[in-house]
């Protein structure tokens, strides 16, 4: 019997994180609207100095094309830096574990993965990443990719309040994302993590002498500082290949809850940053509501199915009664509720960290995680998650407006055919980058799906589907199986392309749509205006999101995760 009282800790944590969201969201909104915020006296002069070094100024606002150019230059330079770093890591200093240079395709996949905020890994950190790659190169992307997502959000939303066609200054948005949000919070979170038991040292390797003889290598490093920015920035990369399941990265139930809090902080607050930026706070609630409804259903389903025992194991003689959830691929210390909350927040917030083996989950729990990546907006990753929800909302308002005969407009700006075309492209690029490569991989015999039973075959199918979905959504979590080897040149190159397209095409659309709004003068509200700050709109948006997503992905959801039960 499921013990609801044992959920008290996750309910308290959710309560704290959600109660903080409006206040923290308005702080984010103030940062991106350049309104006075705490820390101005200290940081304004530092930022002014950085702008001088960069050769730009906050007064130089960019149109969408220039904003995208700056974004691509910075992200491209970062990806090139990472690519060459990883491809040379064996020859660069700080490689005490003797990690060899990455092959070109692995370096391509890894650099694309980190640049796009995905952090899907095709390598084993301990043997294939040098200490310098882990502690110097990768963290650059942990900061910059998160800042890029936030910048895109800020730029798109500015389209609703400006009327000069500009979206703000990309470099200024990046600098302020780091100085005002990512750096201070990550530093504090890292220190808390150390107090909760996470290592933070520059001793890379300790050789231990186990009780039964032999030796064991214990890999250490600046784990806390890495892990805190990885979670805060919704990157989801792990210092260890076991990610947040590793007891070193996540030593206790409390560190697990704290990590969950860090992951929730920005994605769940972003609707209120939007409300603050457009100066209509009530408009944030429908989005917050939609996120909570979808996330709440997902979490309830996930924990219910993980609490149940696996009927497939009933035939095994001598397996003791199940306590505290299904144990295969789970860590002992977390307990069912804490482990589940972390995993659902991580995938729905597009972080992609894992504190369990996703491949061992019950089929319905796997489906729940896949659904979160299909919507990628409840709440979705840093900045871009909410921007995706806005695109869904524009489509929904357009469709709904046509149905009831109202002018399709939002926040005093007309939704025109051009915006709808762009938004539809962004929404459709997601299934396209999942299903097309999936078909190519299967038809091209790049992976053998046939397992020992129908259930095993469906599991292999799910594994490949999950891989492409995770890459396309820039999520980064993996549902691995022994049979699916994704470290081939084919999966490295395809994966890199999927991640880049899945990241930068929607970003271009978000900027373009923001730019089109920014060129319009605001309209006066009239009798035909759809009231969007309402519970009705929240419910409509929720159903629109769920139905469009389900319609697109129903066949693969049935063949994959659910096929494992049949």
């Amino acid at each position: 019997m499921f013990d609801f009282a044992s959920l008290w800790d996750v309910i308290v944590l959710l309560g704290i994180a959600l109660a903080l969201a409006p206040a923290f969201g308005s702080y984010l909104g103030r940062v991106y609207s350049n309104r006075p915020v705490v820390g101005d006296t200290l940081l304004n002069p530092i930022e002014a100095f950085i702008y001088r070094l960069l050769g730009t100024s906050p007064r130089k606002s960019m149109r969408p094309g220039e904003y995208m150019l700056a974004l691509l230059l910075v992200n491209g330079a970062m990806m090139a830096f990472l690519f060459f770093f990883f491809a040379q890591q064996g020859r660069l200093p700080w490689d005490p574990s003797g990690a060899p240079d990455m092959s070109w395709s692995l370096a391509l996949h890894s650099s694309a993965s980190f640049t796009t905020n995905t952090d899907f890994t095709h390598f084993t950190n301990e043997s294939q990443m040098s200490f310098a790659s882990l502690s110097v190169a990768w963290p650059v992307a942990l900061f910059l990719s998160a800042a890029t997502g936030l910048a895109v959000f800020a730029a798109m939303v500015r389209g609703f309040v400006r009327r000069d066609g500009t979206l703000g200054n990309f470099y200024v948005d990046i600098v302020r994302s780091v100085t005002r949000i990512l750096l201070p919070i990550a530093t504090l979170a890292a220190i808390v993590m150390v107090l909760l038991g996470v290592p933070q040292t520059y001793t890379a390797i300790v050789v231990a002498h186990p009780l039964t003889g032999g030796t064991q290598t214990i890999y250490l490093g600046p784990v806390a500082s890495y892990q805190s920015i990885s979670l805060l920035g919704t990157n989801g990369g792990g210092f260890y290949s076991a990610n947040m399941a590793s007891p070193l990265a996540n030593p206790s139930a409390i560190s697990d809850l704290f990590a969950t809090f860090v992951m929730m902080l920005i994605p769940f607050s972003t609707p209120f940053a939007f409300g603050q930026m457009i100066r209509r706070r009530s408009e944030a609630w429908p989005y917050f509501g939609t996120i909570l409804i979808v996330f709440g259903i997902a979490f309830a389903l996930f924990i219910a199915y993980q609490a149940a025992s696996n009927p497939f194991l009933a035939s095994i003689n001598g397996l003791g009664a199940q306590t505290n959830g299904y144990p295969v691929g789970q860590e002992t210390r977390f307990g069912l509720s804490d482990a589940s909350l972390f995993q659902v927040v991580s995938v729905y917030g597009n972080v992609g960290a894992n504190n369990m083996q996703i491949g061992s989950l019950s089929p319905v729990a796997q489906l729940v995680l896949l659904f979160g990546m299909f919507t990628q907006s409840t709440p979705g990753g840093e900045g871009t998650g909410f921007a995706t929800l806005l695109l869904f909302s524009l489509l929904g308002i357009f469709v709904g407006g046509l149905m009831v005969g109202r002018t399709p407009e939002y926040l005093g700006k007309k939704i025109q055919t051009s915006q709808v075309r762009w938004a539809a492209l962004a929404v459709l690029i997601h299934p396209a980058t999942i299903l097309l490569p999936f078909g190519v991989a299967i038809l091209g015999h790049q992976v053998d799906l046939v397992g020992a039973s129908a259930g095993a075959t469906a599991h292999n199918f799910t594994s490949v589907l999950y891989e492409f979905t995770s890459e396309s959504a820039n999520n980064g979590s993996a549902l691995s199986t022994a049979q699916f080897n994704d470290t081939t040149v084919f999966f490295n190159v395809t994966g890199a392309l999927i991640m880049l397209v899945g990241r930068f095409v929607p970003i271009y659309v978000m900027l373009r749509v923001g730019g089109l709004f920014s060129e319009q003068d605001p309209l006066a509200p009239n009798a035909g205006t759809l009231r969007t700050a309402s519970a009705t709109f929240c419910l409509y948006l929720t159903l629109f999101l769920i139905i469009t997503t389900a319609l697109i992905f129903l066949p693969v959801m049935a063949l994959g995760p659910l096929g494992q039960i049949i």
């Binding site: 301990e126 890999y219 500082s225 290949s241 095994i316």
Partner: protein, 211 residues
């Protein structure tokens, strides 16, 4: 709740000048260099300095030592403890070889999962001194997520007491007492699970059996 803002008609501002391309290149290079310095060095160095000052035990990896000062392991990393006189942890698909990272168990409805659990049960029964059809705690015979989970539910540690008593000449009540002393209860009820860090328990056991 603020009222919807009224439209503000008026002359459009002139579109701003774009940065020249050379300025973009310069900004990109400077931004990347600054981020490498910050994310790769300043930030982790600062956190390390603070960490080493406030909690050196955790910062250095929660290392556990033998009385002679040699490193036995980390309280946060399971290792091979498969000796008759020691308490055992959960099985590891990587044999506790940290260099291999974590391995993936078979899927939830894959016959290979049944085979794996049957094999583990058989091994635990034979080498653990249980009856051929003994029922064993499920958390003890299933693979973890990290393959280096050092923790075990108390029930699964207590079932091992008779075997350890047999191999060490320590009495069953004494060992039960030792295990109970090592149970780490959640700080508040249901905030995580109660567990025993098996490596710490075994390290406490070693001097008692003269090893």
């Amino acid at each position: 709740m603020s009222a919807p803002s009224a439209p503000r008609p008026g002359p459009r501002r002139a579109p701003p000048d774009a940065h020249p391309f050379a300025v973009h290149v310069r900004a990109t290079v400077v931004l990347l260099v600054l981020t490498i310095l910050l994310a790769g060095f300043v930030y982790p160095f600062f956190v390390t300095a603070v960490a080493q000052a406030i909690d050196p035990y955790a910062a250095d990896g929660s290392l556990l030592y033998y009385p002679n000062g040699t490193v036995a392991g980390s309280a946060l990393v399971a290792q091979n403890l498969s000796a008759p006189y020691l308490f055992w942890e959960r099985p590891s698909l990587t044999d506790w070889n940290t260099t291999l990272g974590a391995d993936t168990p078979p899927g939830p409805t894959d016959p290979a999962l049944q085979a794996l659990l049957n094999e583990t049960l058989q091994y635990m029964r034979e080498d653990g001194g249980f009856a051929v059809n003994a029922t064993l705690p499920i958390w003890w015979v299933t693979p973890s997520a990290s393959d280096i989970d050092p923790d075990l539910v108390p029930q699964a540690v207590l079932v091992q007491v008779p075997r350890v008593a047999n191999a060490t000449n320590l009495t069953i009540p004494f060992l039960q007492n030792l295990v109970n002393e090592h149970i780490q209860q959640p700080i508040l009820p249901d905030l995580g699970t109660a567990y025993v860090d098996v490596l710490e328990l075994d390290l406490a056991l070693l001097p008692l059996i003269g090893k």
